[in-house]
Structure formats: structure tokens, C-alpha cells
Symmetry: C3
Subunit: 320 residues, 3 copies
């Protein structure tokens, strides 16, 4: 695979061997991610970190990754205070900004808008998430985390059993992660969601067609038993048309230490794309110091993964 000058818009664009390569470059980035080594391979390069929707952690993770490679970051995070209020099209925004940056990261609340932005420009672009669509780099760092946390080799991801819990309808991270895991063999998905928030049918079809085992349930305790990985998600309240409807589901599934120890084997890894919503308490604070709680190391893994993508797209790896 050659990612030089490529866009990263969807997990669909990757084959299994591509993922292996990205993970191998990510592993090489680790000492730079933790600043044990310093590089300036991206000296003089500028990242346009363009967010049409609130975000802190994803935005900051991309920015840090670029800076750790020696590049500079320019952020536009509050597009309401910009020329969009003056009636500018997304096409123009993209074509103008491409003169000011070497690479884009774009998040947008509307599904398809990131693709439109990418189409307008000749600069490479990484999606930072589009509406309820995809969030490809999150899926990459999620899988990288599973591999590292469970001491699996890449091929030992075959046969993984994963429970995905919560708002599977709106959560773009579970959409992308399901696609990514589907590249492997014999994955055992358990999707735990209320009827109204089930995983979209198209994703179900695709996973089944590829020969994976999918079990759907509303029963949390039954669902998480025997999973290698529990992937909790936040209720995406901002995606609901009615706040009252969103509130109905708040707190529906909550994992605490007692439930975990009662239902799961001690090696079961707990992940969450973050932020945790403390009003809904998807993962209780009493698990904060539990070794199975991988959520903060998961956040940390975003850095080497995103550094790897930057380095491959801008063609500076291996470092001279």
C-alpha cells in the first residue's frame, strides 16, 4: 500500500495488509509519541485542523501527533465565527484553505460533507468523523489498543469476541470498528442496544456476509459475559431530534466494578471512545484504577496511529 498523498475517509478503503502496515509504522512512532526521541521530519509543514463540530480530544490528538513530528498546526474550530456566516460554500472553503496547509483533518456534523470537502481539494485529507457516518482513525486506534492490551499478534485478532454497548445507531466509532474488525476472520460481535438504538442494518448485513457471528441483545449482563473486549459508548444526545427521547435512554447501560467482576473474566478489556458522560455513567468511576480499564491508554494510542498516517501520507517514513 502506498498512502502517499492519500485521503483517509473510510475503513472501506483498506485491506488487511494495509492495517498491518499502519500498525507497524505506529509501533515505530511510539518513542516519538512519548518524546523519548525527537524528530523534525515535518519541519515547515502545516496541518489544517478544521472542525465544523465541537471536539476536544480528537482535535487535540491530531494536533499533538503533527507537532510531535515537527510540524505546525493551524486550527479552525469554531466555523460559525468565520466566513461561513458570509455565505461561503464548502467547496470554496476547501479550495481557499488548501493554499494555506499541507494536509487537512476535517470533522463535520453532516454525513458526506467531509467527502465533499476532500473532493474539492488536491491536498490529502484525513476524516475526523462525519455525522453518524465514520470515524476511521478512531477505529484504527481502537484495534491497535486491543492488540497491545491483550498481547495479541496481528493475526491473533482472528476469532476476537467483542461486545459493543449503547447507542449503536448514532455512534460512528462502532460503525467504523465493525468494518475494521470484519477484515479479520470469525469475529464474534455482541451488540447490546435498546431496540431504538440498534446497529444499522447495512452494517449487520455486511458483517454477516463476511462470515462473522453477530448476536444482538438488550441484556447487558448476558451480553458482556465471555467477551474479550467490552466497548462501551456514549449516548450521542446531540444526534437526537428530541432531547426528551435522548433522556429516555440515558443511563440504560452502566458498567461498574461489581458487574464487571461478576460477569467477566479478569482479562476482559474495557474500552470507550470517550468522552464518558458522567450523567449517564457508562463506565463507573469505581473502575478508574482497575487494570482492565483501557480507556486512557486507548486515548494515548491515538498519537502513534495518527503520527503513522501523517508520516505515510506526507511520505517521510522511514525517517532519514
Amino acid at each position: 500500500m502506498n498512502l502517499k498523498n492519500a485521503d483517509i475517509l473510510s475503513i472501506d478503503q483498506f485491506e488487511k495488509a494495509d492495517i498491518a502496515e499502519i500498525f507497524s509504522v505506529a509501533a515505530a512512532m511510539e518513542p516519538y509519541a512519548h518524546r523519548e526521541k525527537i524528530t523534525r521530519v515535518l519541519e515547515g509543514a502545516i496541518l489544517g485542523n478544521i472542525f465544523f463540530e465541537p471536539s476536544t480530544r480528537t482535535r487535540m490528538s491530531f494536533a499533538t501527533s503533527f507537532q510531535r513530528l515537527g510540524g505546525a498546526v493551524y486550527e479552525v474550530a469554531d466555523l460559525s465565527s468565520t466566513s461561513l456566516v458570509k455565505g461561503e460554500s464548502l467547496y470554496d472553503t476547501s479550495r481557499v484553505m488548501e493554499n494555506y496547509v499541507d494536509l487537512f483533518v476535517v470533522r463535520h456534523p453532516t454525513q458526506g460533507a467531509v467527502q465533499d470537502f476532500a473532493k474539492a481539494t488536491s491536498r490529502p485529507l484525513i476524516s475526523g468523523g462525519d455525522g453518524t457516518g465514520e470515524h476511521p482513525t478512531q477505529a484504527l486506534l481502537d484495534l491497535y489498543t486491543i492488540m497491545k492490551e491483550q498481547d495479541r499478534s496481528f493475526d491473533q485478532l482472528d476469532g476476537l469476541s467483542i461486545a459493543m454497548v449503547g447507542d449503536l445507531k448514532h455512534g460512528r466509532t462502532v460503525h467504523s470498528l465493525t468494518k475494521l474488525l470484519s477484515l479479520f476472520k470469525n469475529i464474534r460481535f455482541t451488540w447490546i442496544a435498546p431496540e431504538a438504538l440498534k446497529m444499522p442494518d447495512s452494517i449487520l448485513e455486511e458483517a454477516r456476509q463476511l462470515g462473522h457471528h453477530v448476536h444482538q441483545t438488550e441484556d447487558f449482563k448476558m451480553g458482556i459475559a465471555k467477551a474479550d473486549v467490552i466497548y462501551m459508548t456514549r449516548l450521542q444526545e446531540e444526534r437526537f431530534t428530541s432531547k426528551e427521547e435522548a433522556r429516555l435512554h440515558r443511563g440504560r447501560y452502566s458498567l461498574n466494578r461489581r458487574t464487571y467482576e461478576q460477569c467477566c473474566s479478569p482479562k476482559t478489556l474495557i474500552l470507550h471512545p470517550l468522552p464518558r458522560d458522567q450523567r449517564a455513567n457508562e463506565i463507573d468511576m469505581d473502575l478508574n484504577d482497575h487494570p482492565a480499564l483501557g480507556i486512557f491508554r486507548q486515548a494515548a494510542n491515538g498519537i502513534p496511529i495518527r503520527m503513522a498516517l501523517f508520516a505515510m501520507i506526507l511520505d517521510v517514513y522511514p525517517f532519514k
Copy 2:
């Protein structure tokens, strides 16, 4: 001309030879602007990019230009979330911030405020636009674009025929560009605007006194015929006291491919200071891929022009 430590506040401060020099430095900046070459001449220097009024493109263009020279950028873009709400004067803001930066770029909605900010500080300052006043760096990049796009030498700008269209009353870019072109000989201005949005009289007087030809009309098609350059502008709706009045003029002049091909010679260059307002459609999307549409290359030219000013003001050109 020696721009060392100088403020850039108005086109009035330049003579024709100064412009030639800035353009020649800008040409030398091009390989750095496109990152074909890398420099760190401004290492350790900090730009204070201070915007009291929304802007993306101008702000980003200044920031990129400074970063391409190896400098760091500190931005204050939303002054409402700052100490101005605590009752601070512009004088104090300027005197305090000067301790944190090596050079200022300032935009302000009130005419004269940028000058006041500059007067308070001993640091050099470049105006990023003040109210309906001036926008000197935009005029420089506009003229630089005309020269490049039409393969003219600097002296071949004499005799240029330019049609300026739209909100000529509030548009500070046409004010500055008219002043700049007036340094040359025998410019043929055609100003196309509704009666209520005509170019201010003071600018008209000045252009005529300098011996240029000015024709004012409300007739778009007649006006743009025979122009070497059509300079479309956006209706500055935020400058109107009444929204209803602004709406009256929206969409008054719109250039599309058909009109262009019908009225203009194929070499006629289309410019616009951007953003294009898609509600008003000053330049139709059907011209997006037309070679005469110079608007995105025009935006790109902001980088070498602003790099040139930074390098001259901070006295790092020629690079060692």
C-alpha cells in the same frame, strides 16, 4: 525603501518603487510558500494575529506566511471572550500584548482602530483591515495576481483596464486596490455599482486627479466588456445598518459562464477578494473550472506577499 520595523497601515504610505521591491521579494518567497524550500529565518519569533472581527482566510493566510518562515503564531480571534469584557482599553491591550509578540497583525471593525492600536505600541504592525477603511495587503496580493496571471512586467501594469463590481461603498479591498493602481499610469477604472453602493467620492476625486480614467455605471454587461480584469466583490451585509436594505442588493450583479463568454475577451481575468457569497452568487459555480477564474490562485498569492512583508519588516531578507 526600508520596511525594517515599519507598520503597514495604508497603501498611501507606498511609492511605486516600493511596490516593485515588495513584489520582487514576494517572487523570491514563492519556493518557500509552496514548501519546495524550507527556511527557519524567523525561528523563535512570535506573530500576534489579533482579530477583533471574524475572519478565516485573511487570518489563516497571515499565520501560514509566518509559519512558513519558521515563526510561531499566537492568535486572539474572539476578543469577546477576553479582557475587553473586563473594560480594558485598546491602548492597554496593545501595550500589554507587545510584550508577548514580535510583530502584530490586527483587524478591527472600526475605521481607525487599527491605527490607534499601532500608535500605542513600538512593535511593527500590519493592518488586516479596518472597518470600511483599508486592507492594504489584500490590494498588494490582488495586483501581484494581475501581474502574474496576465504575464505582465511591473511596468506593463500601466494602462490596465479594470472593472470593479458590487458593493464599492463598503468594500475596503476596492478602496485599497484603487489607491494602489493609481500609482501607475493611465488606469481605466469601470466602477459598476447600484447608486446606493457607489465608490466614495474621495476615492473618485483622487483617481481622477492622478489622471486616470473613471467610468461609473450600473450596467453590468456594458461595464465588464473590454476590461482586462473583472474584480467582483461581496455585498458587505454586516456593514449595513438594516438587513432589509442589504437584502435589496443581494444578487444584483452575478457573473456566470454565459455572461462571461458573451461579454468578455477570453483573456479577461476574474478576481474576487473572497469569500464568495453563494446566496448572492457574485461568481457562479459554473465558472469554477474556467481558466480565467483567478480567485483561488489569488488567495494563494497572499502567502508570498505576506511572507515578503514579514521578512522585510523583521529584516531577515535576503536570507543568510
Copy 3:
């Protein structure tokens, strides 16, 4: 003292010798602060400049200080547009962000919140002010300014006479500066405030117990006479529960050239943590060019002080 990897949360954590050491490192930073020398000792390092409350000058001062050492800055200044609206706890914010930065600066409107943020993370953290609590780096730069402006040696700070004026109840800078001065001998405090805005009792007790002289008064002119330093403060209107109550005190104490020349010796130094509120006119504009007005040099001194702390915490001083 070894500040390596330390948090800076309160003046209480310092002994007198520590302050002397910080000031000595700050003095060594001066040529870098003014960019007479350039260093990149913090190359590749990232500062997380996290402000949960509006600020320009403090935020910018920390950012500049880090950049002058060659580091990069990532700012989160408007936490409302972030995942806090998605229900994230301060604990999670701290633990997630620690993966993206090498050092934190945090300001928060709630007293104790900065400490909570620091407790959650293993990264070093410098307080940028918490509610009406403390603002330790401001106190350091205030004292450093007094020393420099009055040509005192460190030990000559003993016996200083200082008048603190205004909203002494809510002003965290006067709380921290009082604590800091209390490390010296025989300080003569004059606290000038309306009854409702007096210095908190706990701070009064502490200063008296340490043997300092404290005089409290509402009489401005009497209070500032014989002071070596007049420390004016802004009415912290945003800390009042009722705007009407705040307005009652606005403009209560105002220092102008006439009052200054009438009451004070010509060597009396005028300080203010800034911003000056021009509605309240704590220090009149007619003193702007007076040599006794130290407020802008005071703002400038924030740079070497903060550079010193960064360099000591990240263990890069002395520079190699």
C-alpha cells in the same frame, strides 16, 4: 529546591530560598525573553494551555514563554465548545489530555478545581489561577518586578511597604502576593478596601502571625502615602452574585497623576495585575507615560518568570 516535574499550585509550597532561585533563573531567561538570544531547549515539547475561564494576557504570557523556549503550544480556551458539554468529568479531561501534552497550565473559575485537575494527572501542572483562590505565577512576577524596578537586591525586600487597593476580597493576585511577601521580614501592608471587599481574615491572621505590620483602611489618600509600592486592583465584577452590588463599588478608588504627585514620593512604584477597567479607572490614563507606572513592564516580566518555571520543571536549565 528541585522543581523537576513539580506542580505549581500555591505560594505556600515555596520557601524563601526557592523564590531566590526562581528569580535567578528568570534573570538568566531575560535575553531569551526579549529574543536577543534564541534557544530550542523545549523542541518537540507541547504545553497544554487549558483555560476554563476567559483570559487573554495570562494565557498569552504562558504561551509565549513556552514558545520562546522552542516548545509548541496547544490551547483549549473555550471549554464550553468541548466535551464538557457532553458530560465529561474534570478527572477524565485531565487523564485524557495528559496523553497529548508534556505540561499543563490550567485556569478554572472554581476554587480547588485546578488542584483536582492536577491530582488526576501525572504530568506537571502550573496553576493559571483558580476562582478567588490563588494565582501563584502572578505573585512571582509582581515581586520580581518590585525588585527590578526599585533596584533592590533580594534581601532588600525586607521591610517593604506596600499599599494594596481595591477588591481585596475577590482578587486572587493580592492573596498570593501577600503570602509571598510574608516570606520576608517586617513587611508593612496597607490594605485599602471598602468594608464589603476586605482581605479575607485567614490571610490577615497569617500575615500578622508572621510578624508583619498590617494596617486596614478605607481612606485611599492616607493609605497610599509612604508606600514604596501601590498595588491597584480591578473590581472582580464577574465574582459578584449581583451586578448591582458590583456597580456600587465601581470607581471607588482611582489613582491619577494629581493624587499620585500630591500623596506619594516620586519613587513610589505603581503596579496592577491588569486588565485595567477603564469604566472604573483604577489608574487614570494621565499616568500612562509616567515613569512610576510599572504596569506594562510588570506584564513583560511574566515572560522570564514563566520561562524559568518551565525550564526548571522540565529540567532543561542550565541550557546545554
